[in-house]
């Protein structure tokens, strides 16, 4: 195993779960699936389409997102929005993310005490 082989695996491990946080955060302003995919990609969070669409479905089932069909344009699109429960969940996840970041920063500065 070379560095180039192990890096993608570790990055994947590190990024697991960030798609949920990023989606809940981005969908505080409503948007449809493809647009979310682009927004996340532009922001530097690369999620595969075949991961994101089922994820939106699950978050909706869990009540963290609400959705409605937008029929004003030529093609109907499902527009998602973070629900009140979703906001709470996002807060909890962000708090934990921050705790992890602080912990890592401390460890990086100090090493083993």
């Amino acid at each position: 195993m070379t560095w180039n082989d192990t890096l993608p695996t570790h990055l994947q491990e590190l990024r697991r779960g960030t798609a949920v946080v990023a989606s809940l955060a981005a969908l505080r302003s409503p948007g449809h699936g493809y647009r979310l995919l682009q927004t996340l990609g532009d922001a530097g969070i690369n999620v595969d389409a075949n991961t994101l669409y089922p994820l939106l479905r699950r978050l909706e089932d869990q009540g963290l997102l609400t959705s409605e069909w937008d029929t004003t344009e030529s093609r109907p699109r499902k527009v998602y929005r973070t629900s009140a429960d979703g906001e709470q969940m996002l807060d909890a996840l962000l708090t934990d993310l921050e705790a992890v970041r602080t912990a890592i920063a401390t460890l990086t500065d100090r090493g083993i005490s």
């Binding site: 449809h32 699936g33 493809y34 647009r35 995919l37 682009q38 595969d48 389409a49 075949n50 991961t51 669409y53 089922p54 994820l55 479905r57 699950r58 093609r75 109907p76 699109r77 499902k78």
Partner: protein, 323 residues
Amino acid sequence: MTTLTDRYVHATVRSVPESRRDEIAAELRSSIDDMVAGRVETGEDTESAERAVLTDLGEPGRLASQYTGEKLQLIGPRYFLVWKRITIKLMIWVPALIAVVSAGSAWINGDGGDAIGGFIAGLLSGIVHVGFWTTLAFAILERANVDSGIPEWTVDRLPSVPRKRDIPVAEPVAAIVWFVVVGVFLVLATSVAWFEVDGGGKEVLLDSGLWSGWLPLILLSLAVSIALEVVKLVTGHWTWALAIGNLAASSLFVVAAGWPAVQRELLNPDLVASFGWEADAYRYASIGITVGVAAALLYSVIDGFVSAARRSRTAVESVEPVR
């Protein structure tokens, strides 16, 4: 005309619950259309854009499993170790048991050949049954969202650390069985008459006169060998004492069995007379068999000394500090 997208959406929703099919199909179709449109905007033609988008989305079955949470493995990490442990345990005795039972029933209804066939068929079907049913049971358990009742692992279930052995258990066990068989054979062959001779009547195979001469020594060498094998079984190592004992027991056997064999005093003379062998052929055969047995024992003796030497060397090395 059905498009590739139609076929893709159909293939995906086919394996999601019926109540959600329309909903997921509509969602998926709209997302695919958006992605295709996005690619077309950058100048790609519609057909290749569609192909690229569907290729990116990947195998429909995999995508469907993401929607439904269906497990893509037969037995996952939660049950794998239990499945493996139970399968190995059952594989050790169930196929053997079925093989013996089916060999037994084949023997009763037929002959020895049927019994062998029954044994092999029983063994194979036992292996297949154990493999299939345990795997099926655990695959169902994996999917049923119920408490399996399988006890949690605790430290009390840790196995004890095995002592380090150079000699596998099977080796001395097989040797003991072999020596017992040889001993029983010698006793029976010198006392029970089961060899039919031409003139009618039965004769013993070996000369019963051996009882007052070489046979006690042969049996003594076998007894010593069995004792040595028991020591090997218990300690798991060759030692110099064992190697020397093995040399002594093997030498005793070769002399006590080989001498009468070469002298043509091993077989029952009455039986030999009824065979009408040529004297030379009989003598050479006797010598040949004796040499063969001696060579086999010599190999075991050398093996004993070589193993003992290797062990004493590693024992010394492990005491010396590593440089």
